[in-house]
Symmetry: C2
Subunit: 269 residues, 2 copies
């Protein structure tokens, strides 16, 4: 992993004590307000991964977006609250000027070889090379850090209120080559544009409130995938009272389920 990759620069943390760090938002991942949430989620995970007492690899990560980050410096704190024989529980907090901007919990564990099976098979889709790049994309900086090839449920071109489905399928990968790792997967889980925009072709204000990622592949198999494509699938299950949920799957090009993810998103309507 090269420190010169924009993603690695964006999630870089400088330790100031065990489990305490400083970092800064990166202009390369700027969103409409503050940075792309996927990168902030990756920062929270990185605070765990950089901890000297870390045991094992990430299994679950939940991040709660308490407030939009301001451009600039932040502090991160990762605290191991319980270490068992093969699992470890973490509480993470990101703050700016003394105010909490993100809380997170994570579970790391020693992965073992076990009976395994995928129960959510990758859908039949055209290969990445058979899917064109989009002809237009939202005018926010972070979007340029990813290649996205939409197979189904692309960003509406007519904002006519006429959507009927909330499902998106797309091939995605980082625009500049970078091998897969847990932080990269955590960010990819948040790449999907808001389901509310798709479901009724209306560009309403939105903001992710909480996101969970379950990691189904270990560090070694992830690294082996190199800079491959990921098939992402996302859909909402309910839009109600100003919040919608999103359930998502990420498969390797070879059809392995790398991660499943869920989020709940505020929308104004």
């Amino acid at each position: 992993m090269s420190q010169s990759h924009p993603f690695d620069q964006a999630i870089a943390l400088t330790p100031t004590a065990a489990g305490k760090y400083t970092g800064a938002t990166s202009p390369a991942y700027a969103n409409m307000v503050g940075p792309f949430g996927g990168v902030t989620a990756a920062v929270a995970l990185n605070a765990v991964l950089q901890h000297p007492a870390l045991l094992g690899e990430p299994v679950a990560l939940t991040v709660n977006f308490c407030a939009a980050l301001a451009d600039g410096a932040f502090t991160a704190t990762a605290r191991s609250v319980r270490t068992n024989r093969s699992t470890q529980h973490w509480v993470v907090e990101l703050a700016q000027e003394g105010e909490t901007v993100m809380t997170a919990t994570a579970i790391t564990a020693a992965r073992r070889e076990t009976w395994s099976v995928d129960d959510e098979p990758m859908p039949a889709v055209p290969a990445p090379d058979a899917v064109p790049d989009p002809t237009q994309s939202p005018d926010v900086e972070w979007v340029h850090r990813y290649q996205m090839r939409f197979i189904e449920g692309g960003i509406p071109t007519d904002w006519d209120g006429g959507g009927s489905s909330s499902q998106t399928r797309l091939w995605m990968r980082e625009a500049a080559p970078r091998a897969f790792d847990f932080c990269g997967i955590a960010a990819l889980a948040d790449v999907f544009f808001p389901r509310a925009w798709l479901r009724r072709a209306t560009r309403v204000p939105v903001g992710t409130v909480s996101m969970t990622v379950y990691f189904h592949a270990g560090a070694a198999p992830l690294a082996k995938l190199g800079h491959g494509w990921v098939l992402g699938q996302a859909r909402a299950q309910a839009f109600r009272n100003g919040f919608f949920d999103q359930t998502a799957q990420l498969w390797s090009e070879g059809g392995h389920l790398l991660a499943t993810s869920h989020q709940v998103v505020y929308y104004k309507a």
Copy 2:
């Protein structure tokens, strides 16, 4: 809500300061080791709901099971880390003898009337009265606190390693009448027996590591449902390296999506 209902007794908290409580596990919800996890999740949520500074209603709850609770007393701490105009972020911790046994985060918010739609329709299933009660059930106490009528994917009767699907559909409700509320829904989200048992008809040791619940119905519509049946649907997406995930939906009998939930579960195999 009657304090004499076993569920209300089990989730009862005695405040010792703002956001600090004592509670105790209830024999009525005993599991194989420690109490039924759904009740512990409800306790964590209750610590938020009883807080004098509470704003709004639960939208999201994530609980992390750090260790099996021992039978007996515990302490709970709920801390509001950020209060925005219409959302509030919470960090919760349960401890026994100074050791953390659960961490949790929750988001509460003021619900508003908005454009709404369910994108995960309730599957076509027979009505609760057309589904028989099971003829046998696991020999753990908490199971008797719920009525469960399995439509599909019931607990295997032949533990022959021969499963082929991880999907369960069942009607469920509390055995003793009790109106729906957020704590009740949080517990219902954990009623499903382990997907690993179903998927290969093998009774392996399991333990939920983390569970998230997104609440799609407000307090008033929930209360209106009274002591109704809930259709629960759960399935796994991946079993890998000693952990599987579960994605679940809870609908009212009338077909409203009340909650969506996810968990990641340790299994020994």
